[in-house]
């Protein structure tokens, strides 16, 4: 018996038949849908490399049973840029040098997108460090990451404000 699953991934609705109901969202994304931007680091919810947005909330895809999220909207790193135009968070990571080897970067970026959307971090670097604490970086690019998230948060808030007043 296979299990049917519907997910909207980066805006595209997909119907997926799963043979094994125990597959994680991470393995589904990488092995089945070939969306390999989401990384497998520790595979136990400690490192955050597999962070994706599930219905707008950031979660570790390695700790999510795919079937448990039937009907959900999933955003992965592949869903952020519009064509060649990087998402403001991606652009800020480049501008602020928020990486070294880059392996944790997709998770860092997704986590930052989630953090900014939560609207609690504001522009206090300590709150950003707290909010990003679920994403480890073995190259320790933390100061660049914090700068990037701050810059992106400021830019996204300003842009939003301009749109409102325009």
């Amino acid at each position: 018996m296979s299990h049917d699953l519907t997910l909207t991934i980066n805006g595209t609705r997909q119907q997926i038949a799963l043979d094994d109901p125990r597959v994680t969202l991470l393995d589904l994304l990488r092995e089945r849908l070939h969306l390999t931007g989401t990384k497998k680091g520790c595979d136990r919810g400690q490192c955050g490399a597999c962070t994706v947005l599930i219905d707008g909330r950031r979660q570790n895809a390695c700790l999510a049973l795919a079937l448990s999220h039937d009907g959900a909207e999933i955003t992965t790193i592949e869903g952020l840029a519009e064509g060649d135009t990087l998402h403001p968070v991606q652009a800020a990571f480049v501008a602020e040098d928020g990486m070294q080897c880059g392996y944790c970067t997709p998770g860092q970026v997704m986590s930052a997108v989630g953090l900014i959307a939560e609207g609690r971090a504001g522009t206090d670097p300590e709150r950003i460090r707290e909010g990003m604490s679920g994403n480890l970086c073995r190259c320790a690019a933390y100061s660049g990451i914090t700068r990037a998230v701050l810059a992106a948060a400021e830019e996204m808030t300003t842009t939003k404000g301009e749109r409102k007043t325009a």
Binding site: D19, R44, R57, A64, R129, E130, S133
Partner: protein
């Protein structure tokens, strides 16, 4: 081929549990605890069980569905008595974990370092259990039978956590000590709740976690705090009033003696924090 179930009602869930299987909710403890490549046996996902969802004010107090996630606790409109529970919610793993992990999972896994337990103990929480034999309620302290042990009978499930209205009074606080600031397992943690009337502590509830197989209240200290001014509370804390309730172990995170010392200091700081928040 393994089966997977996602019951929508408690009756359905209890029927499935009778046949056995792996109980899943937020999965944040389940996957790390699974040594094999995949979960074994049929999986019963409880996150859609209607009776296990949501936070609500009831006639008798507050009800938290067992499948309520930590981020839901953090964003809920709750009285200041729950400030300690909220502070704990903010320190359970990372935001990614808080968006998945559930209150019920935290209690059922029964880790000595479960962040939710001290706060719920100071809120006089009771657990609502359901199984083939029907429903029953237990005080949280009776539910937690030891390290990684609960009073859940075979086929039984934790449905909700209840905080009686008399315990939803006053203001709560929570402090956790780890080896670093964030994303850390507690070396020791403290929750406190004070009810102040006419400038004096009317009722005090203080609990310490990660300093014994289960978190525990400090009845001797609570008695000593009753009747004094909140700003004098921290000075009234002594090792003699704290230590008897604790049974700390030494492990990779800290030795037993260190835990004993920091527990006393954390209690002082929690009470000092509450006094500074203008409890009169």
């Amino acid at each position: 081929m393994s089966a997977w179930h996602r019951p929508a009602s408690l009756t359905e869930a209890i029927g499935l549990l009778a046949e056995g299987g792996v109980v899943a909710a937020g999965c944040t403890d389940l996957f790390p605890a699974t040594r094999r490549q995949a979960l074994s046996g049929p999986v019963i996902d409880l996150t859609r069980v209607a009776e296990m969802r949501g936070i609500s004010e009831t006639r008798g107090g507050w009800r938290f569905g067992a499948a309520v996630r930590w981020s839901e606790v953090l964003s809920a409109a709750l009285p200041p008595a729950f400030d300690g529970l909220k502070a704990a919610a903010r320190e359970v793993g990372s935001v990614q974990i808080q968006n998945a992990g559930t209150l019920g999972g935290n209690l059922c896994n029964a880790s000595p370092a479960a962040d939710g337990v001290p706060g719920l103990l100071t809120l006089e929480a009771e657990v609502e259990l359901a199984g083939p034999a029907g429903m029953r309620r237990l005080p949280l302290a009776a539910f937690l039978a030891g390290a990684r042990r609960t009073a859940l009978a075979p086929g039984e499930v934790l449905v909700a956590i209840h905080v009686p209205s008399h315990a939803a009074a006053g203001r709560g606080a929570f402090l956790k000590l780890g080896a670093r600031r964030y994303l850390v397992i507690s070396i020791a943690m403290v929750a406190a709740r004070l009810v102040v009337k006419g400038g004096r502590i009317d009722r005090a509830a203080v609990a310490v976690g990660a300093c014994g197989p289960v978190a525990s209240r400090l009845p001797a200290l609570e008695a000593a705090l009753a009747g004094i001014a909140p700003e004098d509370a921290a000075a009234a804390v002594s090792e003699a009033l704290v230590a008897p309730a604790l049974a700390p172990i030494g492990d990779v995170r800290g030795d037993a003696e260190y835990r004993g010392v920091v527990a006393v200091e954390l209690v002082r700081r929690a009470l000092r924090g509450l006094a500074a928040e203008g409890m009169r």
